[in-house]
């Protein structure tokens, strides 16, 4: 049969534009539905609930700004607020500095590179609660706790890691930093690898030293990676929960609320006290903080 015999295709009923739009929205339908129902609706509903008094049983009762007023007047809220920012302002810079240092040197070694990288990444794929319990065991008094046992052997004083209102928060933060380190190292290494080697070769020929290369070339060119990690890690520390909850199960957020972050407070308000309206108000505060901190960081680290 010759090709000429085939009839020309009938003109489609829909225009090309329409057909494309149908395809696009066809594929987008599922994620749109998911985000709409599972994510955006509850988020928006939290704003509404924050103006109500609701214990899950009776119908929510509108009480205006009462929840917010109560929050500002409550000393525990301010303690939680301080704790949350302590996690943020200590955790983010320390973890980024550590992970960059590890990535910078790991990038230069060839021998055992893959093994080392895997070892650093391992904590990231480990269950947070399992990890928290192992660290909790590390922190126990001697002879159970490894760290205190070593301190004892060295003739040093014992540390009340998780039972001290001073040291509990830093102790938990160490765990949290260690847990996230692998991910940050991997991302930093990808960023380092994406810098063309001729930049370094040109600098070496120009006689620029290692430190100046790091400061003048590597760090500026790594900025997109750093911005991503600063925002990502900040959100992580502002939302810290697993490590705290699992390492202080006897008195979650203790001792005396000294380690309690905002998310744990919200959890307790909602699911121990069943004060849904009050919990929603705290959620709105957390949401606002996350938004402001992220926007602030993006602004501070913007392209100039």
């Amino acid at each position: 049969m010759s090709r000429d015999a085939t009839p020309p295709p009938a003109a489609p009923r829909l225009s090309m534009r329409m057909r494309r739009a149908l395809w696009v929205w066809g594929f987008l339908a599922l994620p749109v539905l998911f985000y709409g129902v599972i994510r955006f609706y509850p988020t928006l509903d939290a704003f509404r609930l924050s103006f109500t008094d609701w214990n899950l049983m009776s119908a929510p009762k509108y009480i205006g700004l009462e929840n917010y007023r109560r929050m500002l007047a409550e000393p525990e809220f301010w303690q939680v607020f301080r704790n949350t920012f302590a996690y943020l302002v200590l955790g983010t810079p320390i973890s980024l500095l550590l992970s960059f240092t590890v990535a910078y040197f790991l990038d230069r070694i060839r021998f055992g590179h893959t093994l080392m990288r895997a070892l650093y990444f391992l904590p990231y794929i480990t269950t947070a609660s399992a990890m928290a319990w192992v660290w909790r065991w590390f922190y126990q008094p001697a002879p159970t706790g490894v760290i205190n046992a070593v301190l004892g052997d060295l003739g040093l004083a014992q540390m009340d890691f998780l039972r001290s209102t001073t040291w509990a928060l830093p102790s938990i933060m160490v765990t949290a930093i260690w847990a996230g380190l692998g991910f940050q190292v991997i991302i930093f290494m990808a960023g380092l690898r994406s810098i063309p080697t001729t930049y370094y070769e040109a600098a070496r020929i120009d006689g620029v030293g290692e430190w100046a290369i790091l400061r003048r070339i590597t760090l500026p060119l790594l900025k997109p990676t750093t911005v991503f990690l600063v925002v990502f890690s900040s959100i992580g520390f502002l939302r810290i929960f697993d490590q705290v909850y699992n390492m202080t199960t006897n008195d979650p957020g203790g001792p005396l609320g000294s380690t309690k972050p905002l998310v744990l407070k919200i959890y307790q308000t909602a699911f121990s006290s069943y004060e849904m309206g009050y919990a929603a108000a705290q959620t709105v505060v957390l949401f606002t903080i996350l938004l402001l901190v992220s926007l602030g960081q993006l602004w501070a680290l913007r392209k100039r």
Partner: protein, 346 residues
Amino acid sequence: MADITLNRLVKTYGRAEVIHGIDLAVADGEFVVFVGPSGCGKSTTLRMIAGLEEVSGGEIRIGGRLVNEVDPRQRNIAMVFQNYAIYPHMTVRQNIAFGLYTSKLGKTEKAAKVEEAARMLDLTALLDRRPAALSGGQRQRVAIGRAMVRDPAAFLFDEPLSNLDAQLRAQMRIEIKALHRRLGTTIAYVTHDQVEAMTMADRIVVMKAGHILQAGAPMEIYDRPADVFTARFIGTPSMNVLPVAGEGAGLAAAGAGAPLLAGVRPQALRVGAPEEEAALSLTGPVTAVEPLGPETLVHFTVAGQGLIATAPPHETPGIGAEVTARAARGQVHLFDPATERATGRA
């Protein structure tokens, strides 16, 4: 200013030797172009001179000083890379000034040097721009500027024009050559483009598989190629090389196993040239014609081998027609078929 000497220079990667003991002396102020196909070792040689690759054997001397174990920064050379290697987060001014990062000059002297380099390279109006806002040619000029401000003993260029389009490349060839005339600094330049080699070099170094095949002035290499590879690599279109038998004016195409290889440049193999004076006559059917304006390239086959001849612009033979092209006496290069080395002319 300095001369560069390579002595039995060897480079090995693991057990693979890629540079097989090459010797070369680059005179002070000379513009030497290393040319060859990819993987011939020309870039590796340049990178060894720069100090970016370790020397596995032999020695490199810059200005008489043995530099095998000397850090790149202490060799007082400057290098320009194929991808420019100018920093996207710095302005043109900062990029050029970066060449002076370790210099002990004062601030005003540094600024003056940057201004001077910018003026020479016609970059003055662009000094406060970022590289993203520059064209490829401008970026390469910035890279040259960064190299220039250091007053190095020698410039090393690693395929600096390969990322540019043909027109810009032609322009940059002239600019780099003019720059060399003005500065008089020794230049070692690597390219795979034989046109760049021919047009810019004081001396061309033809490399293949880690060996130097021939080093000489452009026209010397063009007129007296030492072997078949060099003969075919330099000049466009490539020289025709075919097996021939006979002697003197009696050369004739022959099959494989013939006692000689004859090389004739397409420009010397003329369609319809007079029979007397001819050293070699070749007849065969035309397979393609390419009118170039001033002349026409005629592709034809003799004994199954494709050859290229030239014809006057308006006397183009038809496809399939039999043509006879002749090379005048003195225009035929003869090579030994076993060694492929040049043996003389006919």
